[in-house]
Structure formats: structure tokens, C-alpha cells
Symmetry: C2
Subunit: 144 residues, 2 copies
């Protein structure tokens, strides 16, 4: 497994979906399904990347990036995803919020001794490939 | 400490700043300063809420919500925050990305047995107080 790193920076405009949740106790099939959903999301048209973190026993945040509203709607209406969301409300989540937002600017930083440049700027053109990280990038399968 | 819960839902439009980072090894004063920064951010004009999660030893995501671009700029230019960011680049972060985005819609869910309603909708008017969670809300100090 490569070192973790934030998802690569696409060129704006693009969209971000912020999913913030608190889990019910126990796994109850959650881990396996969450992994399947990440993999499936990465195969959808317009998917640009994803980052996810969960405090042990606490709050989790998953941030996914999408080319446009159309690709967000497509993923939202995907049958497997719809069924999983219904199951999630029923079993896995104590509470959650979803925020859909239009990204206006993005920038990044990688330590010089981590083998990449210093300040990362997004690509000038809306070309996900041009903003791709050389190593350690996550969730870029569908952006290639 | 109250149970964790996602930050309350303001009425759109508002802004979200997504800070995704990978830490260098060791604490090196990070934990204390991160706590101070969260407290200071919550005192700034236009602050609406914050959620934060970090995988053990991995990726961390902090999502903060702001009334407008002006309040984001105000916090960005705050002296203590500027100094802390410089220190962070020097010591604490292996890599990070920042995305600034305009929230177009938001919704939430709380389990009925968790003592609140089912589907949460944002307030119709831009009144953060109307969207406040009855219990377990985080980061709402400055929204009162």
C-alpha cells in the first residue's frame, strides 16, 4: 500500500461532496461495503478523487471530487449506491450530513523531502492528468 | 465530552474549506496547537462550524464552514493562524491540500432513536440558530 496522500488537485471548477458521519457501534458489514462503494465510485463518469478519514470510534469524513453536477447525480442514482445509502440509514449511521459544493480554488503542499515539488498548483486547463500526483495518489483510477 | 456529531447545517449559500493532510511522525506540539486553532477559528466572524477526523497514523480531514468569502479571508489573514500555517508547512505536514468551495445544498440525518428528528433540512432563512442541533453539536460557539 502506498503512503497516504491527499487526492490530486483537479483544475477548477469542479465539485466536492462532503459526507460527515457518526457510526453506530460494531461493523455489521460496513467495512466491506464501504470499500466496495469507494471502488464503484471511482469507476463512475466524472469521478476525480476521494479522501476519507475516521477517528477511532468517532466522526468520519469522506470527501469526493466530481467534474460536474451531472456526475454527482449519476452516482447518486446508481442502483447499488442507492441501496447502500438506504441500508446505511437503517443500520450504520447514528447521524450524518452531506454538503455539495462548487470548488472555486484549490492548492496543495508536499514537503520537498517527500520527493515532489513544494507548492502544488492545480492545472491551468481542466485536465485531471496534468494535476495528478507522481506518487502516493489515491482514488485516481477513474481519472486516467 | 458530548457524543460526536456532524456540525449543524446552516442555510445555503455558505462556504466550506476542506483541509486534507498527512502528518509527519510524532506530535511536536501539533496536538496542542491544533486545539488552540479550532478554538480561535470558532471565535472568528462568519464561522459556522467545523468537523475534523484523522485516521490513526494516516490521513486527516478538517472541514470548516463559513458564511462568506470575506470571513474565510479574515481567518486566513489572522496573525496567529498565519504563523501556525507557516509552522505547519515547516514541521507538521508531509503533504496537504486545501479546497475552498461554495455550498449549494446540504442535508442531514439523525437516527430517530438518537433523540432528534429523522431527516434534517437546513433552515429556510440564513439563520444559523434555526439549524442548530439540539445536542451533541460541535463548533457552534461563534454561531450563537
Amino acid at each position: 500500500m502506498p503512503d497516504p496522500a491527499p487526492a490530486p488537485l483537479p483544475a477548477p471548477p469542479y465539485y466536492v461532496v462532503v459526507f460527515t458521519s457518526v457510526r453506530t457501534p460494531g461493523d455489521d458489514g460496513y467495512g466491506k461495503r464501504a470499500e466496495e462503494m469507494l471502488k464503484l465510485a471511482a469507476e463512475q463518469p466524472g469521478f476525480l478523487g476521494v479522501d476519507s478519514a475516521r477517528d477511532p470510534g468517532g466522526l468520519g469524513i469522506t470527501v469526493s471530487y466530481w467534474r460536474d453536477e451531472e456526475s454527482i447525480a449519476g452516482w447518486r442514482e446508481h442502483t447499488e449506491h442507492t441501496l447502500t445509502r438506504a441500508y446505511g440509514r437503517e443500520r450504520w449511521y447514528k447521524s450524518f450530513t452531506v454538503h455539495v459544493a462548487r470548488v472555486e480554488r484549490g492548492y496543495g503542499y508536499t514537503r520537498p523531502d517527500a520527493g515532489a515539488g513544494q507548492v502544488r498548483e492545480p492545472a491551468a486547463a481542466p485536465d485531471p492528468a496534468a494535476a495528478r500526483e507522481p506518487a502516493g495518489a489515491r482514488g485516481t483510477a477513474a481519472a486516467t
